[in-house]
Each structure stands twice: as C-alpha cells, then as structure tokens.
C-alpha cells in the first residue's frame, strides 16, 4: 500500500471543562491516517477514542476544546476551525460517520429517503429526480431490497440491521473520503454484525474510502483493520499493523488488553482482568499513565513519559520496556495462544 497520509494529527491536546474542573481527555496524540487504509482505534471506555475522532469533524461537546496541536487535512488545519460554517464543508462531505446505535440514530418522523436526500442536497447540490436517483442507488449499494418502496418508509418499519444499512447509506451518499465508524456493530445481533462488517468492507473498496473504526471489540479489529492504535487514558500507547499488535504486542497495557479476551480464557478459570482503575484525567498524569496498574512498571515509568520506541518501521510503542537499558520482560504466557491461532 502506498503510504500517503490523508489526515495527520500532531501533538493534539483536548480538554473538557466539567463542574469547574478541567479534564485532559486527549494528551499529546500524534497519528497519521493513510489513504485507503482501515485503522482501528481500541481502548476501554473513557480512553478518548471517541473524542479523538470527534475532533476530526468538530463534533465535540460544547464544554470541550482543542488546547493545542493540529489536525492536517488536505492542507488545512482542522484544529483551527472555529465556526460551524467552516465545519459544514467537512462534515458529511469529506468525513462521514456511522454511529453505534441504529435504533436511535435516525429521525423517527422522516422517511429514510428524505434523510438520505437531506445529505445529498447539502453536499452534492442534487435536487428533485437527480437526488432521488442517487438516493435509490445508495440504498442499493447498502443492500436494501426494493429501494423504491423502502425509501418511502419510516425508520420504525426497519429492523436494526436494516437501519444500520440506512445510516451507512447516509454516510456514503455524498462520497466522503474518510468514514468513521463509531462502534458500528456493538448494538447489533451477532449474526447481523458480520453482515454489516462485510458491507462496510465492500463499500470501502467501491468508494475508495479511508476508514477509522472505534471499537472495544477486538474480534471486529482482527476482522477489518489494517492497522491498530491502542489508546489508554487519552494517549495512543501502541500502534502498528494488525498482525504486529496482535502477535507481537510490546506495551504492557496491550498485553493486558489482549489477555482479557474471553477466547483466551481456560474453562473453569476466572477470566483475566486488569487490576485497578484508569487514572483520573482531572489530575495531571506523570510518567506512563498505565504504570500504577502495570506489574512490570519500572521506576522511570512513574517519573517520565516514555517516548515512542520503534519496534519495526510500522510498529511503535510508548513503553520504557523497549529502552535498551530496560530489563527484558516477556509478554504474558497466555498470549502464546494468540500466536497459535486460537480464538479471535
């Protein structure tokens, strides 16, 4: 794959003001999104994965702001965008989003045809029969049978999987360049999940999309992603090609995350869980945010934030364990099972 970044995040810091206190939600994140790739961002709830992608579209809640850093997209720094007018040129047109819960993400009072046409009018300036034509095409693209009839129906006449197809249709209708899927299958039936993932993959090929998945389902990641970024406490702590992160993880948090996969558990034994809780983002974080929960933590982990160490040209991790002076620590035994191709 040719590696040209389509979107490049540099030193991004995002803060929120909550009950008079400041929460540091994204801490100095840098990330390149390459054209045509599928990147998965994984991490537990509150790790900042959703907030990070929301900054790409200016969709942060009103109490949040970009404190510093830049988001380069086609020669423009999105981090400098202030007014809604500037963002309207990006949202839906350049970058589109698929939300988690299809049962609630469509307006219950509008026909699904009207909801797709609304986007087409905004970005493609299509009206009347041309808009209708394009809307029907899009519905066919997302695999909705009998689109002429279905377009006139309301969301409550669709099942969950069908509604998610409609949401995807809205996202791709205006041929965006980047598609952000915020846990697109979490709310769906397991049998439907696979269909939706398959559909997104087909559309990515057809429309030449760059895709970002936000998920905490590592099964989804293994299925779709070219690259994986692992987030913890508002920071990307490990990033690499899917294969590298799954089979050759280097950060202790990634180890812990992978060890938590229920597929790796042994029948009769307790499932692995990470001890402790994520750090309080209202407080300043010193050193490696994961250090207090890390059984392999070194003294320096509590004092200085580790830099990224390159594992391979495509794989890097933020842990002092990769420093040449650090003692050698082996990944947990349980991860051996991943290599043997069990589970996942």
């Amino acid at each position: 794959m040719k590696k040209t970044p389509i979107l490049s995040v540099q030193g991004l810091n995002v803060k929120f003001s909550l009950r008079g206190k400041t929460l540091h939600a994204i801490r100095d994140v840098s990330l390149d999104l390459y054209k045509g790739e599928t990147l998965a961002i994984v991490g537990e709830s509150g790790s900042g994965k959703s907030v990070l992608t929301k900054t790409f579209m200016g969709l942060m809640d009103t109490n949040g702001w970009i404190d510093s850093g830049s988001i380069w997209y086609e020669g423009k720094d999105l981090a400098q965008y202030k007014t809604e007018k500037e963002w309207l040129a990006i949202r839906g047109k350049e970058i589109a989003m698929v939300l988690q819960d299809p049962m609630t993400s469509l307006n219950p009072l509008k026909t699904i045809g009207a909801q797709i046409i609304e986007a087409l009018k905004l970005h493609q300036h299509l009206e009347g029969p041309a808009a209708h034509q394009r809307m029907i095409e899009t519905l066919m693209d997302v695999g909705i049978p009998d689109p002429e009839r279905r377009a006139k129906q309301y969301p409550h006449e669709f099942s969950g999987g069908m509604r998610q197809r409609v949401v995807i249709a809205i996202a791709i209708a205006c041929k965006p360049k980047i598609l952000i899927c915020d846990e697109p299958t979490t709310a769906l039936d397991v049998t439907i999940q696979a269909q939706i993932l398959h559909l997104i993959r087909e559309l990515v090929r057809k429309y030449d999309l760059t895709t970002v998945y936000i998920t905490h389902d590592l099964g989804v990641v293994a299925n779709v992603a070219d690259r994986v970024a692992v987030m913890y406490a508002g920071d990307i702590i490990e990033i690499g090609e899917s294969r590298e992160v799954f089979y050759d993880a280097r950060h202790p948090y990634t180890w812990a995350l992978l060890s938590s996969l229920p597929q790796l558990g042994v029948k009769g034994e307790d499932l692995f869980s990470i001890k402790g809780t994520p750090p309080n983002l209202f407080l300043e974080i010193k050193g490696d945010a994961f250090a207090p929960r890390n059984p392999h933590a070194l003294k320096i982990d509590f004092e200085e934030r580790p830099p990224f160490f390159d594992v391979s040209p495509t794989h890097k991790a933020r842990t002092w364990l990769l420093d040449p002076r650090a003692p050698k620590v082996d990944p947990p035994q349980i991860l051996q099972r991943l290599r043997k191709g069990e589970g996942v």
Binding site: M57, L59, E84, K85, L88, I90, R91, G92, K93, A96, M97, L99, Q100, D101, T104, S105, L106, N107, P108, L109, K110, E118, A119, L122, H123, Y154, H156, E157, F158, S159, G160, V167, I170, C174
Partner: protein
C-alpha cells in the same frame, strides 16, 4: 389511517354517550326546586302538573330516551330559573361568541409567544434566554393568577392609555378598566392576561422536550451529516419535540374558548366563563345539565383532535398492526 380514525371516533362517541347518561341521571337526583322559578308559592297540584308536562315523572329510561331524542334535534331544554322559559341554546348562543373570540385570540398569542420562547430557551440552554424564560415561568406558576391579573388590569390600563396618547395625541379617547366590545384596545389586556399561563406552559414543555431531543443520537447523526444547527433545530428537533405537545393543544384551545371565569368577571365581559358557576348558584337544573354537557363535549373533542393531530404528524401512530423487525 382511516381505520385508526374510525376506531378513535367510535371510542369518543361511546365516552360521550356514557358521560351524557351519567350527567343526566345525576341531575335527576337533584331537588326538584331547580325546575321552578319559585316553588314555595306553587301548590302541589300545579307542581305535579308541570313535572308531568315536562316528563319528569316518567320512568328514568323513558326520560333518557326523550332526552337523547331532543338532543339529536339540537334541543337542550329551557332555562328554569336563570332566565325563565328561554331556550338554553339561545342563552349559550348569545354568550359563547365573545368567549370564543377571546379564547382563539389568547390561544394565538400563547402559541406565537410561548413556542418561540421555549425554542429559544432550549437553544440557549443555561444562557440568557433560558434564564429569562425560567424566571418568567416560575413567576407565572408561583404567583396566583388573581394577583397578577389585577396588576395587569390597573397598571395595564394606564399604560395602554399612555401609549394611545403617544400615538394619537390629544384626541385619544381614554379607556376604562372594563371591557368594551366595540373598542379593540380594550381587548388587549384581557387577551394578554388569559395568554400568560399558556405562554409559560408551552415554553416550559417545549424547552423540556427539545432539550430531550437534542441529546438524541439522530441529532448527532444530523450534525455529522453536515446539517447546520439552525436547520437541525427547525427540521429535526422541533418537530420531534412538538409531537408530545400537539396532543394537548386542542384541549387547551377548547378550554380557553370555554371562557375564563376570572378574566370575564374582572373585565365584566359577557362571556361563557361565569355561566356554570352562576347557574349552579341559582339551582337551574336544566342549565346545569346543559352546560356540564357542553364542557364534557369540549373535553372529549379536544382529546380526539389531539390524538388525530398526533397521528397526522407521527408516522409511528397511524399503524394499527405491528410492523418493524423483519
């Protein structure tokens, strides 16, 4: 849709029938004094003859049948004490128009002011308009209406006179405190007073429903789609927030049209408002019966219209059978 309408109208007719029957039977349990101008001066024979003549000594089921037959011909009976011998329909026809006009005007004012206020409050949550609106709503709900009605009447009259003076100069004719049907300026204060409660009510509920809707996922998706926030408020949020409100608007309109006792007596407006209280005080049985029935009809028609309106704007309601997951 047609099926839903027929079912819903049928239900209303049934409810109406039950209410009319209950009211009719209850009024029959009242003392017979209420059918005579002055029962003390009449002797037994005359009383009996009159009751026989009115059919009040017939078995109750026969009376009920006669009552419904009369009703179908638009005959509500005649007043016994309030205005003896005058058909009730005539009395109502004289008093109703003024209340209806006042009610419709006040309703229009309430909607025109209340809805934008509610929408502005929702859009500027916790900012100026929201705080201003909250203050207004709390005041209107906390202060008894009688208190601010009187203030509006006394200070409002001077204010209106002052403004009229500014506009028309010396030849401006002063208005008094009371209502004068022929002078439009005297309509302002009663209509405004009647609207205040409803303005607060609409603003409060619309704000609440809109804030609820704004946090829904479909609004997030609309933003992600690139719809600007004004259009999101108008096309997506407002319409969804209005669905639960629209149900109550016809009822509230009809009750407003039914007249406000307090406003009408304060400005001495010859409307329907005080009529029910008055005929109860005067123990005019036929009129009590007729007016209670009119108000019941208003309530039932209001709810029926509310449900129909809701079915019109919410596609989820018009379905009689279950669709969805397939």
């Amino acid at each position: 849709m047609a099926k839903y309408l027929i079912k819903r109208i049928g239900q209303s007719l049934l409810t109406l029938f039950i209410i009319l029957t209950v009211v009719f039977i209850m009024v029959r349990q009242m003392p017979i004094d209420g059918y005579f101008e002055n029962i003390d001066k009449l002797d037994e024979a005359v009383i009996k003859a009159t009751l026989d003549n009115m059919g009040l000594n017939d078995p109750i089921l026969v009376q009920l049948k006669d009552f419904f037959l009369d009703l179908l011909q638009g005959d509500l009976g005649t007043s016994a004490r309030y205005s003896q011998g005058v058909p009730i329909t005539k009395i109502v026809a004289e008093k109703a128009p003024i209340s209806i006009i006042l009610g419709v005007l006040s309703m229009a004012v309430s909607l025109i002011l209340g809805i934008p206020l509610g929408a502005a409050m929702a859009r500027s949550k916790n900012k100026f308009w929201d705080k201003f609106g909250t203050l207004f709503i709390v005041l209107i709900n906390a202060v008894p209406a009688a208190v601010y009605y009187i203030y509006i009447q006394s200070y409002g009259t001077s204010l209106v006179n002052m403004i009229m003076h500014l506009i028309q100069g010396e030849e401006a004719a002063k208005i008094g405190m009371l209502f004068d049907q022929t002078r439009w300026v005297t309509w302002i204060l009663p209509v405004f007073s009647m609207s205040l409660g409803n303005i607060a009510y609409y603003a409060m509920w619309l704000r609440r429903y809109m804030v609820d809707e704004m946090n829904k996922d479909y609004v997030r998706l609309a933003r992600a789609k690139g719809v600007d926030s004004k259009k999101i408020t108008m096309r997506h949020v407002f319409r969804n927030a209005f669905v639960p409100m629209i149900q109550y608007i016809p009822t509230s309109l009809l009750y407003t049209v039914g007249g406000s006792i307090y406003i009408e007596s304060l400005y001495s407006i010859p409307g329907m408002g005080g009529l029910l209280v008055e005929v109860i005080q005067r123990q005019d049985n036929p009129m009590v019966q007729a007016i209670v029935m009119i108000y019941s009809c208003i309530g039932i028609v209001g709810m029926l219209l509310g449900d129909i309106l809701m079915a019109v704007i919410d596609p989820r309601i018009s379905l009689t059978r279950k669709e969805g997951a397939r």
